[in-house]
Subunit: 337 residues, 2 copies
């Protein structure tokens, strides 16, 4: 494949120029660009500058308030709410993070609810940011209703990711971030474009029958991972990052979308737990004990989630990244267009 | 099968007499018996009075402090810790619940850590108890290291259940409670006793190769549900209900057990979130909106987790329960023995 080699600074510059051209205010340009750089840096290409094309579509559909100024609300000693005012969620997260950290340190546990945001990015940059403060983080968000509940036939849930971060002394945090759907919607779309069948368990047709045809699954419903257990978790995400924080469910988000195929609109919930709130001065000793759990996993040759991302990060910070030529040209087109 | 019919009062009386005979102090007898009654009432037989046999084994192994008096500790505005002092965990949960509810109402979110407890019961009675106060609940606990991580061959995790409760106005809460292992250990033991093969995906042999032989899997390792995603969740449970609260991991619990095959020993973490802390006076309106999510699931013929338990509850409260004659006789034997 024909590729272009870019340093991370060049990635950042390109992302900023495209986002500026798309009309985002400078603060949003800065915040959104950093998540795209993080995606490229960790070789998580689906969350890299490819997303600028997704932004382009969502912004052209009129679904983003380009200069939204998020507003912080203090509703309870353990809760911070950030109203994103219809803008991309990254800036809202940045605004709320110091308050979340402060409240978690004071109370031992705290929650941040981001409301009324357009959401397209992975959750791992956020749980990493919380863990960087020595806190344990749990984050989730609904999306668009594409996924049927276990035993059902019709979409109710979004891909509803859950992400977790655990601070590790002197090194990157332990982080996972996965969709509660069996696979990403984009993965099914890639199979459709390639004319390839999808594995059993990814989707059902409009009558709820198992299918291996990508197009049929996209017109029917996706399935959750892990059967009824994954379905239960997906429903939990709907509830705690939807009605609990006064924001949309995945069904409401896709109704709000009204066929525009824009990024999901709604809320996100992030919990932060402070080990010191549970353990006081003994926190360091117990965090060290957690390392034995990680060691027991890696010593038997199993990988921890995010290991690949951290390995990529070491490489790309030094060597830069490669981007498909076609994507690079498409982005240049956005700058010229 | 030969069975005995008992009212729930008779179940309670039988459980109390056996637990008293086993030497538990009156407060523990009361608290433990109620979880066994709840198991029978909801026709969750594995968590009913069958567990009196498990208690018998664990107590005879000297692994339970029979008259432990749990101690409440206030470590942070959003955290309550209860040291179970080596006793069964039910009494510790009861002691901590009012403080958890109070802190969640004041802060919007709070956590209860139960430490140094012997744990054998399901988590759904507890998330139900929290949800009965109008709070959202999330609970988890490690167990004994029986389960290999995804990509691994050797046990690191316990069956590590996760339970969730969501208050529903005017009716039973939405509740799920599942092991992050592919199946319960007891289920594999039932297959072994029946000489039946186990399905693929439940376990591996001592070299990490897939097996359908129950005995081989019990000597090797169980697997998590949902591949690497279930494995990530199981690891999260190890961390947040282990080192985060200063208590044992599943590996430490089984080492502490030292071959006694007693119930797991360690901690449990329960989070409580108050909708009013996020939504103020709008909480009722948004809880009502959550009902649309449940309706969208049940309207397509899919079941919600716990529906069967609630249906059983309606029946058994009126008609009583049936218990296998063999179990009934075994329990009578404990009373006579």
């Amino acid at each position: 494949m024909d590729t272009v080699r870019l340093t991370l600074d060049e990635v950042r510059d390109l992302a900023r120029r495209v986002l500026t051209r798309q009309g985002l205010s400078p603060a949003h340009v800065e915040a959104v660009a950093e998540t795209l750089v993080a995606g490229e840096r960790d070789e998580a290409a689906a969350h890299g500058i490819y997303r600028l094309l997704v932004c382009d579509h969502t912004i052209r559909a009129g679904k983003v308030v380009l200069d939204a100024e998020p507003v912080l609300q203090d509703t309870a000693p353990g809760v911070v709410k950030v109203d994103a005012q219809g803008g991309y969620h990254q800036l809202a997260f940045r605004l709320g993070l110091p308050a979340l950290v402060d409240k978690a340190r004071k109370s031992g546990i705290a929650a941040m609810a981001i409301n009324h945001c357009v959401h397209f990015s992975a959750l791992w940059p956020e749980v990493e940011a919380v863990a960087a403060h020595g806190l344990v983080a749990l984050a989730c968000t609904p999306s668009h209703a594409w996924v049927a509940p276990a035993g059902g036939t019709k979409p109710v849930f979004g891909t509803n990711p859950i992400a977790f971060g655990w601070p590790r002394p002197g090194r990157e945090p332990f982080v996972f971030d996965f969709a509660t759907s069996a696979t990403a919607r984009g993965e099914i779309e890639l199979h459709r474009r390639a004319g390839k069948p999808i594995p059993e368990g990814w989707g059902v047709d409009a009558e709820g029958r198992p299918t291996t045809d990508a197009e049929t699954a996209l017109a029917g419903a996706m399935l959750t991972f892990g059967g009824h257990k994954g379905s239960a978790l997906s429903l939990m995400v709907e509830l705690i990052a939807g009605p609990l924080i006064g924001d949309m469910t995945s069904a409401e988000s896709i109704a709000h979308d009204a066929g525009a195929k824009a990024s999901p609109y709604g809320g996100e919930l992030i919990l932060a737990l402070d080990p010191a709130g549970f353990l006081g001065v003994a926190a360091a000793e117990h965090l060290a004990r957690a390392e034995a759990v990680f060691d027991a996993i890696t010593a038997q040759g199993a990988r921890l989630p995010s290991e690949r991302r951290y390995e990529a990060r070491k490489r790309t910070v030094r060597d830069g990244v490669t981007v498909p030529r076609k994507l690079y040209d498409d982005l240049q087109g956005l700058l010229a267009g």
